[in-house]
Amino acid sequence: MNRSSKKRKAPPAPRAKRASGKDAKQRIALWPVLAFVGRYCLWTVVFYALTLLPGYKTVLDYYIEHSVRVDSWILNLFGEQTTVEGATIKSGLSAVTIIDACMAIQFMVFAAAAICAFPARLKQKCVGIMATGLAIEAANHLRIMTLHLTNYYRESAFDLVHLEIWPGVLVVVTLGVTLAWIKWAIARPIADGSHVPA
């Protein structure tokens, strides 16, 4: 090692431009968030406006009845002896009726509006809406089946499972899949090398 070599002073690293003042500091991060919130609200209005379309109620009723049939079929695969009557799953003296509010539609609207409001490619958004919709739908099927089983085997625990456990689980599932999609969308580069279009 040549000890006599002169120590070179490293050139100062180029300093990033800083926004002056505390307000400017916060504005940088706050505006994109507010823009996202605004877009989210618009998309929520759009999705709820779809419920005003003629035929929505018919489609929803059809969807509920078929969901109940699927749940009954899965339960019967595991040895349960359930029957379906309209939107009701029956088994002995136990019966659970599924109504519109049981279909986790508010969670699907939340996830879909958040995905539409997030700056990503159309294809990514389509994948996100499909994936989150399926995950929430699967969780909801599990919910309906466990509620039926709880009502049949331990009726006293029905309120606990229905009102305490499942609302929280659906929130966790919805947030989890939505955030997982955001992580996935950010990680995928687009053509020019940047990650997400502004």
């Binding site: 990033a16 431009k17 800083r18 926004a19 500091k25 916060q26 940088i28 991060a29 706050l30 994109p32 968030v33 507010l34 996202f36 919130v37 989210y40 929520t44 209005v45 709820y48 406006a49 419920t51 005003l52 539609i105 508010q106 969670f107 609207v109 939340f110 509006a113 958040a114 997030f118 700056p119 990503a120 009102l163 305490e164 609302p167 929280g168 929130v171 966790v172 919805t174 947030l175 989890g176 955001i182 992580k183 969308a185 950010i186 990680a187 940047s194 990650h195 997400v196 279009p197 502004a198």
Partner: protein, 212 residues
Amino acid sequence: MYPRKTIAWLALRFVVVLGLLSFGWPGVGNAMADYFRWFGRQVIPAKDGLRVVLFEKLGHVRGQKPDDLRISVVNLSLLDANGYGPVRDIPWPARAFIQRPLALLIALLVATPVSWRKRALALVIGSVAIHAFLWGAISFVIWKESAAPILSLATIPSYLQEPVEALSAALIAQVSIAVPVLSWLIGAVPFAHRPVVELGYAMPKDTKCLCP
């Protein structure tokens, strides 16, 4: 991005805090009903012209839960000499509208890697946002019920009936998830370490993360 282990730890913190805070522990339902009744009385005038709005606890009624509230809307001009007349009742489970949104907000904040000072600030912002939204939602629902034919305290044109119903359903449904999540976004994310990148927006090349 944070390492997977960190994300798993934050997710666990979120689930545990959400579970603990949103559970119906003994006494919580009653306290929430008391709180919501107080809040409702503060933001909605009990008597506004001919309209009277009452917030009643139903915990003592058989078959009702401790957090069950009933918002009753009455038209004074339609009451008879004994005080009887048509009433529109709005069932309002207090825990679903106060405890769960606040629990979700707190759980999200606890799972957000920022300082406790920033969490406290975000909690204040989020709580104010949740209460403001609730105020708007209750006012809207009460106005909608006031327009019922049996009360005739307000008028909704027939072509607006369905949109009003849909908006009312949307407002009620969004309280439990969207309002706390958006409040958390506004309150905490701008102050997090990588706010703009986390949200996926392109940053100018010379912009550094300015968060302390």
